[in-house]
């Protein structure tokens, strides 16, 4: 059975190889600290295997989580105090690209489409085969798709040196910098909020403020609360337990006999509207802006805000009408 941890080791290895390249790249003014950052990030992937929460009943080896915590803080310091630099990318000119595009024609799409194709096959056809760890077929499909696509890509383009894709990928990595790490850090923040009892506190405040037995106000408070809290923490998953413990469950479902699946599902989607609007949701908003080389890193958010607000209204209205 292919385990998701193997994919994590591969990702870690890619980071480490790129870190070694960075250390040797004299065009990067901060090459040692950059290499330290990405190398350390690479090491957290295999080390994380020993720390990650595993399903009960499965065998696992255990490592203490504290050293990894120190590593994460070191990553934060390296990223937070501007120790990341970039080298001069070695790449092709526009003319060379156009010539090669003309030569390869639409064949160049084959490797790019290999990634989603393999992911689809893994998620649909091979999911039930027992080949992949349960519930991880799409993620493993993405990883497998990339490996296959790399081989196909080198065949199609006729590129013989493995160092070329690694170098190109590294340039993209350097361009993204610490934005790449932010989603994972925000997930960490969400779980610390949960551990420290932020949810219970918000619940107390909401209960003090909210008048009793006003269904529509409670619906608005839940949807708007999910939205705002998600904007603050950048992650609807972190906001959901907080707002549901605060108001969704005790008020809307227990007190007012709401339809639980409807309220919970729509509440989560109200949170997603918040994700569309916040730079804290870096992986959906800031990372694309850096990948697309936008000058305005809030560009995607600006494109999404009107849709998000309209959908927030839809969530509130649908919940108010259909959930009771």
């Amino acid at each position: 059975m292919i385990k998701v941890e193997w994919l994590y080791w591969l990702v870690g290895l890619v980071f480490i190889v790129m870190a070694v390249q960075m250390a040797a790249d004299r065009t990067n003014p901060k090459r040692w600290t950059s290499a330290a950052f990405w190398g350390l990030l690479g090491l957290t992937f295999p080390y994380g295997t020993g720390v990650a929460t595993v399903a009960p009943g499965t065998a696992a080896w255990r490592l203490p989580a504290e050293p990894l915590g120190v590593g994460v803080l070191a990553l934060i310091v390296l990223a937070g105090f501007n120790f990341l630099g970039k080298g001069v990318p070695v790449t092709t000119t526009v003319e060379q690209r156009e010539a090669s595009a003309a030569r390869l024609g639409s064949k160049i799409f084959i490797p790019a489409l290999t990634i989603p194709f393999v992911a689809i096959v893994c998620a649909s056809v091979l999911d039930e085969s027992g080949l992949f760890e349960t519930g991880k077929a799409t993620l493993l499909g993405l990883g497998l798709g990339c490996v296959v696509a790399l081989v196909v890509g080198m065949l199609v383009t006729g590129e013989k040196k493995v160092s070329v894709p690694v170098h190109s990928g590294r340039s993209m990595l350097e361009a993204m910098g610490s934005a790449l790490l932010l989603p994972q850090l925000l997930a960490v923040l969400g779980s610390i909020f949960a551990l420290a009892g932020v949810g219970t506190q918000v619940g107390k405040i909401v209960n003090d403020v909210l008048p009793e037995n006003s269904k529509y106000l409670a619906v608005i408070a839940y949807c708007l609360g999910m939205f705002l809290f998600t904007v603050i923490v950048g992650n609807a998953f972190a906001a959901f337990p907080v707002m549901t413990a605060a108001i969704g469950w005790p008020v809307l479902i227990e007190q007012m006999n709401g339809n639980a699946p409807a309220i919970l599902a729509i509440g989560m989607l109200a949170g997603f509207c918040g994700t569309l609007c916040t730079p804290m949701a870096a992986n959906f908003n800031i990372v694309p802006a850096t990948l697309l080389e936008l000058k305005d890193q809030y560009g995607p958010i600006k494109a999404q805000i009107p849709t998000a607000l309209a959908l927030l209204v839809c969530c509130t209205v649908i919940m108010a009408i259909f959930a009771f």
Binding site: V11, C146, P165, Q184, K204, A303
Partner: protein, 239 residues
Amino acid sequence: MIVLLGVVVVILGFVTRRNPALVVGVAGIVTGLLGKMNPLEVLAAFGRSFADSRSVTVFAIVLPVIGLLERYGLREQARTLIGRLGRLSAGRFLAVYLLVRQVTAAFGLNNIGGPAQTVRPLVAPMAEAAAERRTGATLPDRLREKVRSYASSSDTVGLFFGEDCFIAIGSILLITGFVNSTYGQEIEPTELALWAVPLAVCAFVIHGARLLLLDKQLEREMALASAEHDLPLPKGADK
């Protein structure tokens, strides 16, 4: 009550535009300590949740493939291809992508698209090419940024409001996991997924309509830009 200061740290850091990694680190430490965790517990919480969330960083493995293909002209070829599809405008193209992304995500294929996998190498260059073909002129930087931003938005909106119709997705499992363990319920993922369908439809209608309006905006602004510079009107702008 004092534990909420962690949230205040996030807001302040965000408003004053501090480095986000630093804001998250400080807010995490502050919240943990105020929540009566000892320093070692805070470190362990950092470590464990960082390990648990590794899946969000896995997309980095796409970068070498995309980097290689871009070196060989992937984006240029994507533009050429869309240039041949005559009637496709940027907005219509992105609306189609939005639909495809929603439907595939609704079937659990949430990793087949994404900013690194599809938006940068394919969707954004294709949308730009479609816009340029339609207006008959090179896009100024500001409009190019706009088209790219909308390309990213159609990917994100499509993913968010498609994936919840699928039962084995993280958010659905989080809801059932949380509610069933905290409140002793037995809510089925399928019941939740059903309630995501009406909002998926709303999302497609609303964002799709805005994508189509983008075409009008582009045409208007292109016409305006050429008028300002006293240039001949670009082909097709007089519709």
